[in-house]
Subunit: 323 residues, 5 copies
């Protein structure tokens, strides 16, 4: 589905509404012109049509059909193919959702193919159209704006995971519940997020070092800024992985400690009941000559001895903190 | 066993059926000519014969006899020796099966020696013969097509392992069974798969950077595509290893938690039976003066007290969730 | 909030008290002149005003608004943007507190923007003003002095953590308490500290290798000294992380050993009470012909046998160290 | 002890039997000549004598006295000093035994000093003497042949360890025994083997890249082959280490699972005996009015109820798989 | 404290006894002259005095006051500052003790400042004075000799730790004691030793590659020898760390296995006593019609049945190896 298609000259959109593809194809004439085409989950036919009109490379097109690529930046003589993995954190499910954005970029066009949910770009285009001084830099400006959006959107994901880690900490240290399942799936999300974002650092750093040879220094600094944010997200995710590994270990130790506590408390209670039972079994013996059995106060003394045993044991186990 | 042997000129197969070796040997005359020879688990004699006819290097030949090589790319002045490890996932056994493909490549020949199961190349040759425009590039095109097949076949392996990981997760978090054995052997497969595929990245990247000096830019992009897919498989396998390590840890914690639960529930039931047993032992004592023993309702009150004790204990342990 | 603003010429402060911004802006005329401006948690308006007056780059300014940056060194043609993360150890809470210092540096100004607690710089300026021979080197001297302060302040943090590690060791090996919670949170602090300080090494090493091209060799050695101290802190933190991982593992083993000890001691006591209970149950049987029951000494012998059993069992379990 | 000493010219041994040292010393006159001297655990005097005759460097000689060196390749202007660590697997003891081979190599001599068991070189010399076309290449050919032997001998070690790993897997997953001790010592062997062989890769790769400047391309390919085999052994050992770590973890989980199973089965049996005991204690009470006590069938009903309780409990515990 | 101060010319000590500082300062006139000054834990004043006389750099001096530096090699135009961390193993305490040696080196002086115990250098100077041919190389020879001593002294530390590891292995696999504490503190020592020695490799390798530009090839080989020994110690320590990690894991598994054994043995004994107790409780019931109660042999049969039950259970538990 074509989401928007517009012709820009010197940073200014040349028309209201969406340009038909065949007009777009032909309206790039000068050096300050370029077309920005946005597609959302296009059919193979749509992609093939766009590919033919703009002369996109077959291999790049194939990658764009089949989603599930790793982030990368490939150059094809006079054009670039960029794959990004935008992410969104579903706090309800504690899951990171990934979208996909493929960019075909040359001097005269930016074609953005989006897959999945977390890949909304409408706001990016609107913002950029409001800053003609940036858009003037041509397709590179659009690439920067998209990258900036994708990388900035990693931050809420990192923060969402941070919140969940804090919750898990409270859970295991405070409420004494077994949070193994939650820790594991959180770690799983972190591993997946890391593997989806880490390969982005390479492409970003080549952009930072100037993969677009025509890009001016000013813009390169903007790419450096994006790379810096990506590095920051990456470092935070690495720290989160380490934390979750430690939490899993701590959880194991806490479980062991809790079992130990349970065993002690059970044993205490078992002793408290075993001792009076033993006393009762003594006076249950059938010896003919057990003088206390015939005493009128015998029974009451027996019950009292049991009560005293229970109380002493209870206080003893309280003192050694087994109960 | 010779599987197929054909002479190609300008990307077109020059004949139907299989060429005898002595004809093949001699029919390479121009620059657009090359011979593509396919062997499946050849005897030492067959290999030696082929080696003599095409002048293959002794060291490369030795590697081709003895299988179980690591993926590599070696250059011998005017020819290359490439070792690949195709893989297939046996979902039944949860095992990765490895084959082996050795390629001897020069400007005038491609000799593919295959070992093991997961190394079928017939489809590759057929596809390529259907695209003379690709085959025109000569032996490098055949090498690319074989590499592409091998690397693309890693994807189902990765996905098969992914499925099994999901199953294992369900097993340990849901059905509460001990999946240690399964997790271990899955991890073993992943480690083996990783060690069989990771060394491929080096050779692929040297091909990407142009190990064939005569290879044109167009084809180099195809090799880059293959390298990219290999890198993706490699990253996925790395993530799977981390997941399996976490699963093993989570499994340990779950086992601990389960033992803890069992111990609590056992202790609860033990208490429920110990208390009435203690009561019975009291009234089993032989004191002469135990007034309640002579009351007609004594026995029934005793039974009632035991029942009440059982009910109270049961509700208590239910409330603290030990039962 | 502007903390201080001063104009220096040839290493000497040109005036008492704080210079108004509009004077500061204009008073830099010669090569030995520079302005050192200190801001503490400035409002966006203050920052924007300063940015406009001194021509600071928009991207750097944005970073300075929003704190929570990673340590870095970015060059902007004729100026540098440096981010530092000073740290302080709160021994009470066993927490590392982080501040943030952003430096905008050119030949004619040093603008230090501070956030958070552990970022006091007043002493740095005072010390430097007392050594005009250092300040003569211009803004680079101020940058060095600030870096030196930040990195030297890491040492007490490292030592604070070292103390707590020693305490935790005593706790788990000596007092036999479960220190899991404390170990985990200590490790968390170490991970956070490491991730806050490690990225500093890169910028420091580029300063050491001469990121300021106009910096003389003498000063470069001072930067090398700072880099060396940072590396040392980094290595110590790495060692602490390894120690804490080992402590967590040792803790787990100790817990296991303790549970084992508890189980043994409980079992010993259980046996000590089970044997005489069994003896009592024998003499509680109702057989008509149990000769010992009618003996006058029967009861006393029975009690004696129970006592002997208890003593023997007690000594046995003492000998095998279960009690 | 001098094992063999021979003079070679153009790849051919110039004499039968062993050459005395003083002859050997003097008989190298032309470019195709060299002496190959083999020593087995020589005394310090023997070594010093050889060192003086052939002008070996003092530092290299010192290393040759004292064995226990790490694999390395050092060049001394016109000669090389190479240290190798041959290995052999003692399957009985599950231990890797290491020998040591030191080579002093120049254009005119190869002096091989061997220590320990796994360093037999007689076969190497015999094989090489049977291939004068190889020996013609001079000392480098001898170095290659020795290296080839040492590295090829790593393969049986790797396979021996592989066998033991498979055995350990069967042991822990099948026979339910505690194999901790065996796993640990296997891992210890693997760690030692890895640390003895890994440093070899560096020297081998420098030989591959042509550390002998006079070595021809043909021979260099042979060294590449050796390096390739060494890399393969190294990768296999790395995989084995990972496997053994996983086995240790799996073993821990299995132990936990087994304890859990034991606890459940014990608890089941405890319940089965506790319930009838409780019933017996009820009818052991001394209430005057317990109607069932006087019934003729009372005892038999009581026994029957106990039996029923036992059967029901047994079936219940069987159903929940605790027994 | 000044330990020794001597003037050397062409490798020969120019005088008996210790030279006063003011003489030493002035007696370096030719190219073959140098002063070797040794200080042990000097006061700040002593150091400052030496610094002033020989023109040592302030930053290097500061490091020398305050000990606890990391090993490093810093060049100051015409002089070098080297920090070493000699180590000694206290086998009694199982602790590695560290000293510190700081060297200020130029063409005309070697100033060695020592801190702590394991830094004795008297022997080094004596040995070197006995080999004028080495000392002729000037300060570099002294640096080499000191380095050689420090690195060679690492070997006994490594071996001491090796011994303790073997002891710990015997302890945990043989004597069945909990060695957690000992393992942990051994690992702690290894981590500390590693972090104290690893940073030395960098400086040693720069010396090996010729950090002293005036050093001749001969001497460079000696430095290479030292670097090689340091690398060896480093590799051994790395292996020890891995071993200790494995030991900690094995220890955990052994503890689990031992608890399991204990639980089984306890359960066996519990069953052995529970069954006859149950039998006794049957015959303790008060039913009027229990025929066996009135039989003269009833009691003896009952005792016999209990004995048989005990024997059968005992043999059963022996057979399944629970006892």
């Amino acid at each position: 589905m074509i989401v928007d298609c517009a012709h820009y000259r010197d940073g200014v959109r040349q028309h209201e509404g969406q340009l038909p593809l065949d007009v777009a194809e032909s309206c790039v004439v000068g050096d300050g012109d370029f077309v920005w085409l946005g597609l959302f989950e296009p059919t193979v036919e749509e992609l093939r049509d766009v590919g033919a009109r703009f002369g996109l490379h077959e291999l790049a097109l194939e990658d764009a059909y089949g989603a599930h690529q790793r982030p990368k930046l490939e150059d094809y003589e006079d054009s670039y193919f960029i794959v990004l993995r935008p992410a969104r954190y579903d706090d309800e499910e504690e899951e990171v959702e990934f979208g996909e954005i493929m960019l075909f970029v040359s001097r005269t066009y930016v074609i953005a193919v989006r897959h999945g949910a977390a890949s909304e770009l409408k706001g990016v285009r609107r913002n950029l159209e409001a800053h003609p001084e940036l858009l003037q830099a041509g397709p590179a400006a659009a690439v920067w704006a998209i990258l900036d959006k994708v990388v900035d959107d990693y931050q809420p994901v990192v923060e969402g995971i941070d919140n969940d880690i804090t919750e898990v900490e409270t859970e295991i240290f405070g409420e004494q519940e077994d949070a193994t399942r939650r820790i594991y799936f959180l770690k799983r999300e972190v591993i997946e997020f890391h593997h989806a974002t880490a390969p982005l650092l390479g492409p970003l750093e080549s952009l930072e070092r100037g993969a677009f040879p025509t890009m001016d220094d000013q813009l390169r600094r903007y790419f450096r800024d994006v790379a810096d944010h990506a590095r920051r997200a990456d470092e935070q995710v690495t720290a989160q992985r380490e934390l979750l590994t430690s939490i899993l270990e701590a959880n194991l130790a806490l479980l062991g400690a809790r079992t130990s506590t349970t065993v002690r408390s059970i044993s205490g209670w078992a002793a408290i009941i075993a001792v009076p039972t033993f006393l009762a079994s003594i006076w249950g013996m059938n010896f003919t000559h057990m003088p206390e059995l015939d005493k009128p106060w015998g029974y009451w003394i027996a019950l009292a001895m049991m009560a005293v045993a229970v109380i002493l044991l209870y206080r003893f186990f309280k003192r050694i903190a087994w109960l």
